[in-house]
């Protein structure tokens, strides 16, 4: 884009040079014409000003010298002479050759330039040496100051009443101060006249600002750079950030005296009266309430800053071995179980006093549980930074240009979960880099930037964390995956499946569409391992992909592994627990509905057919089905599936206990929990139950 500006500049400069030439020639005829002199000056001024902006420093520097001389002519300090015009015309030609040389790259005779400048300088009356001013860069008004200690400043900003006539908005300046640090602003309104005397276009308010910032005095002064002359500005350092943290800040009276609002004599007079200083100072009319208020604010802010510093110095964090935390969480788990027992017993006995104690214990237990689980949470950012290195190394190995973006590094997850996420994430990111992002030349040909982007993000969503791995690469090849799936007998050749389900095929063991096995991936191990790893965390994976635009893989991971919110249900005399995160709704299933379905496990829920699994059949529980059963509808990887139970007991805090060695491979059960009455309830795994039901169904069809 900048080339275009430069081209415009060249064009413009050529026009100006032509105009300069014409004006100079006309000036020869009428040397007194001030209008012409003005035109010559402006032409050179624009060549210089714009030249410096577009990097033509030599032109700018040279033109500046000529312009300086013509400034004297313009101000009547020098006459237009034949000699001056000759030199200026030569200067004009020199500028032209400089400009042409910038295109052609030819060498320029720099002696010519120096000779012209020397000649011009001799013409200047008194031949005062003209300083060669290079286009010096004035520092930007908002250049960042080096970070320093947090210092507290007192600023009194009193704009002149006519401040608005310069287009300055005092509030904008105050907001700019707020951006610098912690800021407390007090507006003084005592100068506002009565309505009849007010000029609505004037500013009668002035401000005291107490600012704690790590930026220095210069940063504060820069805020007021444009209105230094339009305001009374007093900036004082009141706390240098290093002072003794324990030390008390100044007394109110001292602050008012320092600010010049009160004379020392007045202060002592008030002190003699031995009452609260502020009230007294106001009551004798020495200062206004606003001013006392403002001084108090300063006192408080500095006190607060010092206090904070003192606490920071003492302790910000302590290191604890992870086992201790694990033990704590286990104990809290036990406590939750005992508390459930207590609440149940209290409810049965019906003793009011007992019930209220149980309630109190319940509240405390819940708080303790949340706190204990929170301690184990760590930001996921440390893992993210590891992946940056991975991306860098892999992309170099493969000769691709890839940038990694991360978002939500501060998202917190259970420590164990973060550790267990590492391997699945490595696999997914490798896949994105190897299969997703194309080689730079292919990307360019597809009209995409050569550099690909792998985006890794984390965010909270309810009691889960969503982790997304997104790339802007080629996307998944739906047809190739489908063909492979058919070839491997995973789906029927004529099966009509939604995209998501086809994409899910890549999680099948040994599945790979890669033609070539690279050192990075393509050997068909990986995605099934990823899926197992995520399921072990009770999480789920979804894939979205657009051909040519990239794919997004979303992992939904529960916040913690130890305790979950769940739904307690009952079948016969057995209790079961379903993770509440998966549950969408509960509806009734009457015996008529069952009869109407003609033996197929389908129920009509608000017009749509929803498949269900009868848990009574699944677990071969004896006893009769009640007339009205309940279907708990859960969402598993986007599929709605019902679980038929006898009745729904309600929400339950479930402390997950692993199953013993004998039972840990039982399909459909992910763990157990102890209920309030001491009995055991099994925790159901909706995902596995759905899979086994699908398998059973397809076997039936065969």
């Amino acid at each position: 884009m900048i080339e275009q500006h430069i081209a415009t500049y060249r064009e413009e400069a050529n026009e100006l040079l032509t105009e300069l030439e014409t004006s100079l020639l006309e000036l020869e005829e009428t040397p007194e014409d001030s209008e012409l002199i003005g035109r010559v000056f402006r032409a050179m001024h624009t060549i210089k000003g714009s030249g410096a902006m577009f990097g033509f420093d030599e032109i700018a520097g040279f033109t500046h010298e000529v312009e300086t001389v013509f400034d004297l002519v313009r101000n009547g300090k020098m006459a237009v002479t034949k000699q001056l015009l000759n030199l200026t015309l030569r200067a004009r030609d020199h500028i032209k050759s400089l400009l042409d040389a910038s295109v052609s790259g030819d060498d320029i005779d720099r002696n010519e330039g120096n000779a012209i400048i020397a000649g011009l300088k001799q013409l200047v009356p008194g031949a005062e040496p003209v300083e060669i001013v290079r286009a010096a860069q004035e520092s930007a008004p908002v250049s960042p100051a080096p970070e320093g200690d947090h210092k507290t400043w007192r600023i009194r900003f009193k704009p002149i009443p006519e401040i608005f006539m310069s287009g300055t908005n005092p509030l904008g300046l105050i907001n700019e101060l707020r951006d610098l640090g912690t800021c407390y602003v007090i507006a003084h309104t005592e100068l506002i006249p009565t309505l009849s005397e007010i000029t609505p276009e004037h500013c009668y308010i002035y401000w005291d600002i107490v600012l704690t910032t790590s930026r220095g005095m210069d940063a504060i002064k820069d805020v007021f750079i444009f209105c230094e002359d339009d305001c009374d500005l007093k900036i004082d350092l009141v706390d240098d950030g290093a002072g003794d943290s324990g030390q008390d800040y100044k007394k109110l009276g001292d602050i008012l005296v320092e600010r010049g609002d009160l004379s020392p004599a007045e202060m002592y007079k008030i002190l003699d009266m031995q009452k609260r200083f502020g009230e007294l100072a106001v009551s004798i009319g020495a200062v206004t309430t606003d001013k006392v208020q403002s001084a108090l604010v300063e006192q408080q802010q500095v006190k607060a800053v010092r206090q904070e510093r003192a606490t920071q110095e003492s302790a910000t964090s302590i290191r604890v071995p992870a086992e201790k935390l694990d033990l704590l969480v286990n104990l809290v788990g036990e406590l939750v179980t005992v508390q459930a027992h207590l609440s149940q017993t209290a409810a049965i006995t019906g003793n009011g006093a007992f019930a209220s104690i149980a309630e109190e214990v319940e509240r405390l237990t819940n708080e303790l549980r949340d706190t204990a689980l929170n301690i184990r949470l760590l930001p996921i950012g440390s893992t993210f930074s590891k992946f940056k290195r991975l991306v860098r190394d892999l992309s170099q190995e493969l000769g691709k240009e890839i940038e990694m973006e991360t978002k939500g590094a501060e998202t917190e997850l259970d420590k164990t979960v973060i550790e267990k996420l590492n391997d699945p994430l490595v696999h997914l990111i490798r896949n994105s880099i190897d299969h997703g992002i194309e080689m730079p030349e292919i990307r360019r040909a597809a009209g995409k930037p050569a550099q690909g982007i792998v985006h890794l993000g984390a965010e909270h969503s309810g009691d889960s964390v969503l982790i997304t791995i997104r790339d802007d690469g080629a996307g998944l090849d739906r047809d190739a995956i489908r063909a492979k799936a058919v070839e491997r007998g995973l789906i029927a050749a004529n099966a009509e499946l939604p995209d998501r389900e086809i994409y899910n095929m890549i999680f099948a063991p040994g599945f790979s569409t890669a033609v070539k096995v690279t050192s990075v991936s393509g050997r068909g191990v990986g995605m099934d391992v990823v899926k197992k790893g995520i399921q072990a965390l009770r999480g789920s994976i979804t894939i979205d992909s657009t051909r040519g635009q990239g794919s997004t893989i979303t992992l939904k991971i529960p916040l913690t592994l130890a305790i979950i919110e769940s739904l307690l249900v009952k079948i016969g005399n057995e209790h079961f627990v379903l993770p509440l995160a998966a549950v969408e709704e509960c509806v009734e299933l009457t015996s008529e509905d069952v009869a109407a379905a003609h033996g197929r496990n389908l129920a009509k829920v608000r017009g749509t057919l929803t498949p269900f699994i009868s848990l009574r059949e699944q677990f071969a529980i004896s006893g009769d089905r009640p007339d009205i059963e309940q279907i708990v509808i859960a969402s598993v990887h986007g599929t709605r599936i019902g679980f038929v139970v006898d009745c729904v007991v309600g929400e339950h805090q479930t402390v997950i206990k692993p199953l013993g060695r004998m039972y840990q491979d039982v399909k459909g059960i992910s763990g157990a929990t102890i209920l309030g009455d001491g009995s055991v309830a099994l925790i159901l795994d909706p995902g596995v139950l759905l899979q086994s039901a699908e398998l059973a169904e397809s076997n039936k069809v065969k």
Binding site: T46, M53, N169
Partner: protein
């Protein structure tokens, strides 16, 4: 709604560069080729801010600033003047005429945006 900023400059390249920088940063731009053109346009169109060169034919920057401050529609808008390092005294004259601030040529696009953000608040 994006803020509308007028750039008044007799140099097409500077105007183009300012205009391009502003548009890239989400501002709307109206251009004027000299002080007279600017003042005429400002008489009937409300803008949020004016960026003006000082040396312009027909009506120079100082005249333009005085004209705007004496008008009604855009009386209180922030005005930034573009000056060169040789014109230090001009800063004072500009301020006296009613300019809000200045930016010294040559400047980088980031500097221009920083100043605009500053005065637009």
């Amino acid at each position: 709604m994006p803020k509308l900023i007028m750039t008044a400059d007799d140099s097409a390249s500077v105007r183009q560069m300012v205009s391009f920088t502003l548009k890239q940063n989400g501002y709307d731009v109206v251009e004027a080729v000299d002080g007279k053109d600017a003042l005429t346009k400002l008489g009937s169109q409300k803008v949020d801010m004016l960026i003006t060169d000082l040396n312009m034919p027909n009506l120079d920057g100082l005249g333009l600033i005085r004209g705007v401050r004496a008008g009604s529609l855009n009386k209180f808008i922030p005005i930034i003047m573009l000056t060169t390092e040789s014109q230090d005294s001009k800063k004072g004259e500009g301020k006296a005429a009613g300019a809000t601030g200045w930016i010294v040529k040559p400047f980088k696009p980031e500097q221009l945006i920083a100043v605009i953000k500053k005065v637009l608040g």
